[in-house]
Structures are given as C-alpha cells and as structure tokens.
C-alpha cells in the first residue's frame, strides 16, 4: 500500500511539483523569518554586550534624562542628585577603578543647510571626559581632538560624513536651549549601539554639556568600573551606601546587559511575530493548493483507487495511502523550504545591512527550534490539507472501477457546504455590522470576532458564488473573445469547488491588501481634508522631537520678515464643571485667529475671542446644552476659578479642539500652557523666503521644523504609504503562492481535458484559440478571486473605519478606485502569467494522441 503511494508520488512528479513548491515557499518564509530574527537578535545582543564591557555599576538619575532617546516631557532639574561631589565620592569607593560622570541628552546637529542630521529621536549629545593624555577611551578620536571648551564639539564619524563636515568646520548645534555655533574639533568612532545604528552623537566638554543638556554641575549618570577582584555586586553594595538615597537608580553591568537583551528580544520578537503572521498567510494560501491538488489527483485516479478497493483494500488503507503520499511531499518540500529559508535569512540580513550599515551583523543562527518547527509545520500543513481529499478518496465505491466517463460534480456536498458557509458568513457579517454601528472597545471586539468568521464564511461559500459572479462577465467574454471566451467561462464554473479553492488564494491576498489600502487611504484623506479645511496658516513651527516650544519664540517669529499673522497654540487641561479635565482647551491669538484658522460658525462669531470669550464646537455644545451666551465654570491648573463665556459655536472639525479660547484668557490664568506649535501666515503665502526668515529669526535651530500644511500632510501620507508598501511586500509571498495555485489548477485541468482539447482542435479551433481559452479561464478565475477579495477588503475596511471614526472626526471610508482598479488589473495579469505554461502545453498537445487518450 505504502509502496503504491510512493510510486504515485514519483509517477505524478510533475503534477505534484506546484504543491511541493507551495509548501516549500511557505515553509521557506517561516524558516527565513526564524533564521533572520535569531541572527539579528544575537548580533544585536553581541553589539550591546561589548558596549557595556566597561560598566560594572551604573548610577543614574531617575526622572531626568537618563541618556536614552528623548521622548518625555518630564520636568527636569527638580533636584540635582548627581553632582561632581557624588562622582568624586563614588570614585573614592574601595572597589572603584574608575568613575565617570556622564552628561547626556537630546542634542540636534544641523547639516550645512541648517536641517537636522538624522532623526530627532536618535540625536544625542554627551560629555567628553579626557584623561591625563587628553583622550577619552570611550570615544577614540579618528581625526582631530576632543572638545575642551565651550564652542567646541566632536561628532561621530557617520554623522560627520553624512553632513560632509570636516575638522575645523563650524557646526550648528542645539540642545534644549537656543542653537549655537561650535567648531568641530574632532571626529570619533564608537561602538555605542545607538550611534552605530544610525544616530548622531555630539560630544562637548563636560561644563558645556551640563549647561546645554542638564544644568551646571549636574550629571545624568555615573559609570563605575570595578577594580580587578571586586565583583559587580560588591561594587553595587558599596555604591548604594554612598549614592544619594533618592532619585537614583543603581544597576550592575550584568543587569544592564540583561535589560538590553530583553529589550532586543522584545523588539526582535515583535518583528518576528509580524513576519510569522505573513508566513502563516502564505502557508494558509498553500493549504488551498494542496487540497486542490489532492482532490484533482484523486479524481483522476478514481478508477485506480476503486480497483484497489475492489480487490480488497480497506477504506482506511486508501486514506492512509493518500496521506503517505502527502507525507512524502511534505517532508521533501519542508526540507527544501528549510534550506531556502536559511538562504532567505542570509539574504534578509545582508539586505538590512545594505540599507543601514549600522545594523550589527553576525554569523547565521539556525536554531534547532527553527529546523524542527519548519519541518513540523510543513509536514503537518501538507498532511492535514490532504486529509479531506484522502477521506473522500476512501468513500469511492468499488463499483466506480467499472463505471466510465467523468464523474459529475456532486451537488449534495455543496448543499451542506453552502449551509455552513451561509451561517458562518451571516453570523460574521452580523457581528461586523453590529460592531460598525457601535463604539469603543466593545465594537472593536465584535469586529475582531466577526471579521474572521465572515472571511471563512465567504471562503466556504466561494463555490456557490462562483457561478453567478462569473456569469456576470459571460456576455462580455463571449462577445469580445468569441467561442474561446465562452468556453473559458464555462470551464471556469465547471467545477465550482476547484475554481473556488484556486481563487481563494487570491481572495485572501486581495482582501488584506484592499483592506489595508482603503484604511490607509481613508486616514490619509481624512487628515488631508482636516488640515486643508481648517488650516489657513502657511507654516507651522514645531520641535522635531515633539518638545515644548519656548514661549519667547512666538515673539521672534512675529518679527521675522514677511510674516503677516502669528499665533502660538496653547494647550491646557482645565477642570470644567460637568465636563471634566480630559478636554484640551486650545488657545489662539485672538487677533490672528481668522487669518490662521477657518471655522464654519453656526452661531456667534470668532470676534468673540477678542472679548475673552470662548468658542465651542457643535457636538460639544449639543452635548452640554450650550449656546452663545452660556457659561462654563472651570478651575485652572493652579486652582484659580475661571468663567468661560461661549461667544460662538462652530462646526466640529478634527483640526481644532472642541473648546477654543484666546491666548490672553489662558495665559492670564495659567502661565505655563503646553505650547507645541506656532502657526504663521505669510504676506505672500508659503514661500521659501518666508521659511528661511522664520528659521533665521529663531536662531536657525536644527530641531525647529518649519513646515507648510502640505509638508505635514505629505509627511503623514509618506508614513502611511511606507507602511502599506511593507505590507504589500510581505503579502507578495502569498500572491506568489496563489499564482502557483492557479498554474497548478490549470495544468491539471488541461491534463484532464485532453480529449476535449483534441476534439476542439480537430473540429477547427486554432492553437491560438486554445491558448486564449485557457488564458481567459485563468483570468476569469483570478478576477473572481480578486473581485471577492476587493469587496471583502472594502467591507472590512469600512467597518474598521466606522469604529476608528469615533476617535478621528471626519474619518470616512474613501475607496481609492485607482488602486482598486490596479489590484484587479494585477490580478488579471497574474491570471495571464499563471496561464502561460498550461496554455502553451494545451496548444502544443498532439491532436491524435489526445483524442485517443482514455
């Protein structure tokens, strides 16, 4: 029995090739992901552990800048806990070999054009600590020397090269304060992972660093190196006794390494999970192909199997023989996939390295779990997918050996299938609709639960859907392509199960692609229209690192050439009676307001801002029963009571907070509002001259971003499109598998329909006509899958957007018809490409031998 099975595998080598390839691709993706993430993880860990090699104990100030990327707005300078004295005391500990006071914080460096080098989140500054010889072992200078005085700076190699700076050049740097010029005294190299992974590091002498990044006399951390013979734990104990009792954190080098390892593992595992999800999608798509292949193989071997049964083979034996066949394919393909996966892992690593030289590299890691996991997944997927066809094979009655002709497709099986599908799809769609009309996390759960249910339901229903959907294009096909078109359509619906599982592979891909695209597009267009509708300002000024703007900047910008109107945007969260504290009140300059912001007033007027009154949006007004003249009682940050008088009601828009107040009112009651943005209107609109004059007026600070509204929209849509492209790339693998599936189905159909094709040729259909027939069948099946996928994707996106809309006003489903058409076009192309080989084979078939086939 098993020998029969194995002989079958060999006999059907060609026809099993696509199945094996599908499994191979899926498992290669899995193995590649595992190899790549393990390799990356180890390389990153290695690079971190070298950078902590001289740290035995780290004493760091909490609540301030710990030297990490700057992202918090936590108040600084409450207590100067780590001072020069602390450093000295720690240096004097019996176990301390060396103690190094570290100053670290956000520091932006401008390139020659005045723009920030690199990214704000990885721009750092630190102090240079020269030893007796004037060198700092932590930062060996490749050129020049370290900074010794204010007005001097050293840069890391990559940053200097990127901006084209050489020793002796004047470089503009900015810490937390104003930007200033410094002379580049040296260029250094370092193994600091934050720097090697593409960051910028500017070194200053300790005094300057303290002044610019913290405050005079203060350190952000102290690094202790233990004497030989003193363990990290011992030094930690000694340090704990001397270090300030509060406001510091002590960690041993080992703890730091462990923490980094954990962080690396977390970030790598996030990436790994995402990649594995996509690998899973490819494998899932592969399942359809495997099921299809085995079903077709069994249909072709119906007589052979029936004969086996007739001569006494039991049902179980038939099932088993099919499963053994699947097992053989699964093993071969998974081993191939594993090997290919190691290759993919290596390829990905060098790809990442070529994009970003700072990424650490290392030898490939092929963990045992990768090997076992890949093989088990590949074999299981193949065998489980073959299970259903195998069971069906065992149901073939022995008499089938005597009957002749092709078996008509059973409608009986489809009735059950359709009922199940209808229930699943109905329940899923119901849940989604319920979710789409609800709000909050509850609605989200409904969607999360309903979406997969609806998807599975639709997949189960695909055979049922294939006939009516494909019938829609029937007249067009026959009209344009004549008989081959008509035959193609009929062949496409001939075996609904087969058509469905072939198309399903594309449906999955297209559902995901479309849903992501529609969501991305809708969010982008919501943001665009939000900005476009309400913002009249030409430029917005903000800090690249998202920090607070210093309040004197507004005045500086106002004095710049070509500026017509300016307003800083205040944000305060006052406790309003009956509303609470979670609603931000936005403050604008009353005089400049109309030139910067465009509100559609329902009642009252923006002029009310001039009388220290506030404006509220329609939704807020309705909710709290407010109208012009109503008042709200609020408590300002410092406890002062404020009465807000409504002077106007405007149509709600996402661009502006529900409550708008004049700057004067806010600042009179709250001297420290959060200011993150200054809006500017130019005399001549958004000109580059205006941009330059704003930059000049604010001291050409590289952290300061001066962007037009369009820039902001563009930046945002760039993020979205980068994300989408990544998704497309990852889903590409699933599409490749889907193409294999189409090729597979077509090739087998051509084989099965040999006699028909021979007969068509005999009665006068040209080779071209045969080719066209096969190609059109392929296109029809692909488009069927794609259309269902697009519709499903749009529906899913619509429901997801409905839920998101409660958080982002003005978010509506915007279907990018261009992209959708492109997807359908690509699906048709996929169909064409997949049909190339089967169509060629069909056209080349010898008429006589195909007619003689029995």
């Amino acid at each position: 029995m098993y020998r029969t099975a194995l002989r079958n595998v060999l006999a059907h080598k060609g026809r099993l090739l696509m199945t094996a390839l599908a499994v191979l691709l899926g498992t290669a993706f899995v193995a590649g992901t595992l190899v790549f993430s393990d390799t990356m993880g180890r390389a990153m860990r290695n690079s971190y552990s070298t950078s902590f090699s001289d740290v035995s104990v780290l004493v760091s100030a909490t609540g301030g800048d710990g030297g990490g990327p700057v992202d918090s707005d936590a108040p600084r300078g409450d207590r100067a806990v780590l001072t020069a004295d602390t450093v000295k005391e720690l240096a004097a500990l019996p176990g301390t070999e060396r103690a190094r006071g570290v100053v670290s914080g956000f520091t932006a460096v401008a390139d020659k054009k005045g723009d920030l080098i690199g990214k704000a989140w990885s721009s750092r500054g630190a102090n240079f600590v020269p030893d007796a010889s004037g060198a700092d072992p932590r930062y060996p200078m490749a050129e020049g020397r370290g900074p010794r005085a204010a007005g001097e700076v050293a840069l890391n190699r990559q940053a200097a090269d990127k901006a084209g700076y050489h020793v002796g050049d004047t470089v503009r740097v900015a810490g937390n304060g104003a930007a200033r010029d410094a002379v580049l005294t040296g260029v250094f190299t370092t193994d600091d992972p934050q720097v090697t992974s593409g960051g910028t590091l500017a070194l200053m002498d300790t005094a300057t660093a303290q002044q610019e990044l913290l405050e005079p006399g203060r350190f952000s951390s102290v690094v202790l190196t233990a004497k030989p013979g003193t363990s990290e734990a011992q030094l930690l104990d000694q340090a704990r006794a001397k270090a300030p009792a509060e406001g510091v954190e002590l960690q041993t080098g080992q703890e730091l390494k462990d923490e980094q390892t954990r962080m690396v593992a977390d970030s790598v595992s996030g990436m790994k999970t995402m990649l594995l999800v996509f690998a899973g999608i490819s494998l899932f798509v592969g399942i359809f192909i495997i099921v299809n292949t085995f079903t077709m193989l069994i249909a072709q071997r119906i007589k052979e199997l029936a004969l086996l049964r007739a001569v006494g083979a039991g049902r179980g034996q038939v099932t088993l023989s099919v499963l053994v066949e699947a097992l053989a394919i699964g093993v071969v393909a998974s081993v191939g996939g594993l090997l290919a996966g190691v290759g993919i892992g290596a390829g990905l690593q060098s790809l990442v390295h070529s994009f970003d030289e700072g990424m650490p590299t290392g030898s490939l890691v092929v963990a045992p779990v990768t090997v076992v996991g890949t093989l088990v997944v590949g074999v299981l997927v193949t065998v489980l997918s073959a299970l259903l066809p195998a069971v069906r094979a065992s149901r073939i009655p022995p008499v089938a050996a005597m009957s002749s002709g092709e078996q008509p497709t059973t409608q009986r099986g489809l009735v059950i299938r359709n009922s199940i599908g209808a229930v699943l799809a109905g329940a899923g769609l119901g849940l989604i609709l319920a979710g789409a009309n609800g709000t909050g996390s509850n609605a989200q759960h409904l969607l999360e639960f309903g979406a997969p249910l609806a998807l599975i339901g639709v997949f189960v229903l695909l055979p049922l859907l294939s006939r009516p959907v494909i019938a829609l294009v029937g007249p067009a096909l026959a009209g344009v392509f004549g008989t081959p078109g008509k035959l193609a359509r009929l062949n496409a619906v001939r075996n609904p199960r087969r058509t469905a599982s072939t198309a399903a592979a594309l449906t999955i891909g297209l559902t995901l692609v479309t849903a992501l695209t529609v969501i991305g597009n809708s969010v982008t267009s919501a943001v665009t229209s939000m900005v476009g509708d309400t913002m009249k300002a030409d430029y917005a000024v903000n800090m690249a690192n998202g920090r607070q703007l210093s309040t004197d900047l507004t005045g500086l910008v106002a004095k710049a050439d070509g500026v017509k109107a300016v307003s800083q945007v205040d944000n305060v969260w006052w406790d309003i009676e009956g509303v609470g504290k979670d609603r931000a009140i936005e403050g604008y300059d009353a005089a400049a307001f109309d030139q910067l912001i465009d509100l559609t007033m329902r009642s009252g007027s923006t002029a009310a801002l001039g009388q220290d009154q506030v404006l509220v949006n329609q939704d807020f007004a309705t909710k709290h029963q407010l109208s012009v003249g109503s008042t709200l009682r609020a408590t300002a940050a410092e406890g002062a009571p404020v009465t807000l008088t409504v002077g106007g009601v405007f149509e709600a828009t996402e661009g502006v907070s529900p409550i708008v107040a004049p700057n004067r009112l806010i600042e009179a009651n709250d001297p420290h509002p959060l200011v993150q943005q200054i809006l500017v209107k130019g005399v001549d609109g958004p000109t580059s001259a205006l941009k330059q004059s704003i930059k000049d007026a604010t001291g050409r600070n590289p952290v300061m971003e001066v962007r037009t509204m369009q820039d902001m929209v563009d930046d945002f849509s760039r993020i979205i499109s980068t994300m989408l492209n990544l998704m497309y790339g990852l889903l590409g693998m699933a599409v490749v598998v889907a193409v294999l599936g189409v090729i597979n189905t077509l090739a087998m159909s051509v084989f099965e329909r040999k006699r028909e094709i021979g007969m068509l040729r005999a009665i006068g259909l040209e080779r071209r006509g045969i080719k066209r027939m096969i190609r059109l069948e392929s296109v029809v099946i692909s488009l069927f899958g794609a259309v269902i996928g697009v519709l499903l994707g749009c529906f899913l996106a619509w429901s997801a957007l409905r839920i998101l809309a409660s958080e982002l006003k003005g978010l509506t489903t915007v279907i990018p018809y261009g992209s959708v058409l492109l997807f359908l076009g690509l699906a048709a192309l996929v169909g064409m490409v997949a049909a190339l080989w089967p169509a060629r084979r069909a056209a080349r078939m010898d008429i006589l031998s195909s007619i003689k086939t029995d």
Partner: protein
C-alpha cells in the same frame, strides 16, 4: 472488380482523394508502415465505408485525409486543396470549414448544450448559422426536444446523433466518421447509420466511415477494404452478407498466402 479499379471506380467528382499515400511511424526497429502507397478517391455525394482488420491502417488513412496527421509521402486533397505542405493554421481552418468529424466516443464538450455543440464549428469560425438548414438537420437526427440538454443528460446514441448533427450543420465538403457506432447497441447504431445514409441520399453529403461491422458497412454505397496499409479490394452496393463473404475470402487468402 479488382484492386486496380479502386482509384477510378466512381464516375463523379472526388470530394477527397489520396494519391500514393505513405505513412510510416517510428524508425529502425520500431518502424511501422501504416499506409503503403494508398491511392483512393471518395466521390462527392457518396457514402464510403472503410473496412479491414485491426491495425490495417483505417484510422491512419482517415486521419491523413482529414488533415489530422501528417503524411510521410504522397498527396491528399480535400476538394481542390492539397493538404501536404499546409501549415497547422491552414489545416485547422480547412478542418473547420470543409470537414466534419464523428469520433467513436467523446465527441461533445460536456459544458455546452446539445445545440451549442452542434453549432460549435460555426461559432469557432464566427460564421452565421443557417437556421433553416440547422432546423432540418436537427429534425432529421430527431433531437428537437433535446437541444438544451447537456451531453451528460443524453444517452450514448443521442450523443452520437448530436455529433452527427454537428458534422452536418456546417455543410462540410466531407464527413469522416471513425467507428461512429462502435460504442452503441445495434438499434441506436442502426439509427445513426440510416441517418448518415439519408444525409447522403437526401442532403447530398459526402461521408467516409471506418467500421468493423459488416452490417454498418452495408449502409454505404461502396466499401473499401484495407489490409496491412494497402487497399486490397472494394465492393459497390454492399449488403451485410456480401461484405461478410468478402471479408471471409481475404481472411482465408491472408492465411493461405
């Protein structure tokens, strides 16, 4: 009647003609001469049966004459058209426009209805269907009530009738039928055969049919006997008995020689 008369036997115009036709399969050890210098003409409006033992080259002759297979040497013409030297595309056109086929089995596309199967050659050619002719053909084969059925819903005999109707509907110059009744019971077979004969008598169709069955051959106007790739005899206005008799005779001859 002798072998030599086979070529010039009939007086009318030839619908198809083979002259010195040779067909050789394989090379060296496996070389098989399937047709050995065959010259034969099939007259217009004539119903010819080809008979002979298995492997004698009947199907090969038909395939060569119908442009389905390439000849090794010699000439084959349909009407005025010489088949030798035609490209695949021209041959396909020729089959489509001038030749009708009825095979032993599997003549129909399972996805098309009976009517669609009948008009298939014309649909492929993009030619308009002659309604009146089609109705007449359909009526003659007795399929009027079954036109919207698919092949799976028809009996074997009905399927062959559809195949006959298809071959006739496009008014080809010649119809080739390879054992069209081979898979049918004698009653259905008789129906098909009388139908073919009627189409010759009443519609003026030319039909060439390969058969093993003396009764089937007796429906023809003339029987050509093949043996070992050569035409060995022919018989005009055959009856089942005369055919059987002739077959016995060269069975005996074959044994004695």
């Amino acid at each position: 009647m002798s072998t030599s008369t086979a070529y010039a036997a009939h007086t009318g115009v030839a619908a198809a003609r083979a002259t010195g036709l040779n067909k050789v399969y394989g090379e060296g050890e496996t070389r098989v001469v399937a047709l050995d210098d065959v010259s034969v003409a099939f007259g217009q409006g004539e119903f010819t049966a080809i008979m002979g033992p298995s492997g004698s080259g009947k199907s090969t002759l038909m395939h060569c004459m119908a442009g389905l297979d390439a000849v090794s040497s010699g000439s084959a013409t349909i009407g005025d058209t010489e088949l030798v030297g035609l490209k695949d595309k021209q041959l396909t056109r020729l089959r489509r426009d001038k030749i009708g086929f009825i095979f032993q089995a599997f003549n129909l596309l399972p996805t098309l209805t009976a009517l669609e199967n009948i008009t298939l050659p014309m649909d492929i050619a993009g030619r308009k269907v002659d309604r009146a002719w089609l109705d007449r053909v359909v009526e003659t084969v007795g399929l009027s009530g079954r036109l919207s059925h698919r092949p799976a819903q028809l009996s074997g005999g009905q399927q062959q009738r559809v195949a006959c109707a298809r071959a006739l509907a496009s008014k080809p110059e010649i119809i080739f039928a390879d054992e069209p009744t081979g898979n049918l019971d004698s009653r259905s077979g008789a129906e098909i055969l009388s139908f073919l004969r009627n189409s010759v008598r009443e519609l003026g169709q030319t039909v060439v049919m390969v058969t093993h069955d003396p009764v089937a051959a007796s429906y023809a106007d003339r029987v050509v006997f093949l043996a070992d790739g050569r035409i060995v005899d022919e018989l005009h206005h055959p009856t089942a008995d005369s055919v059987l008799d002739r077959m016995r005779r060269f069975d005996a001859k074959g044994r004695t020689s």
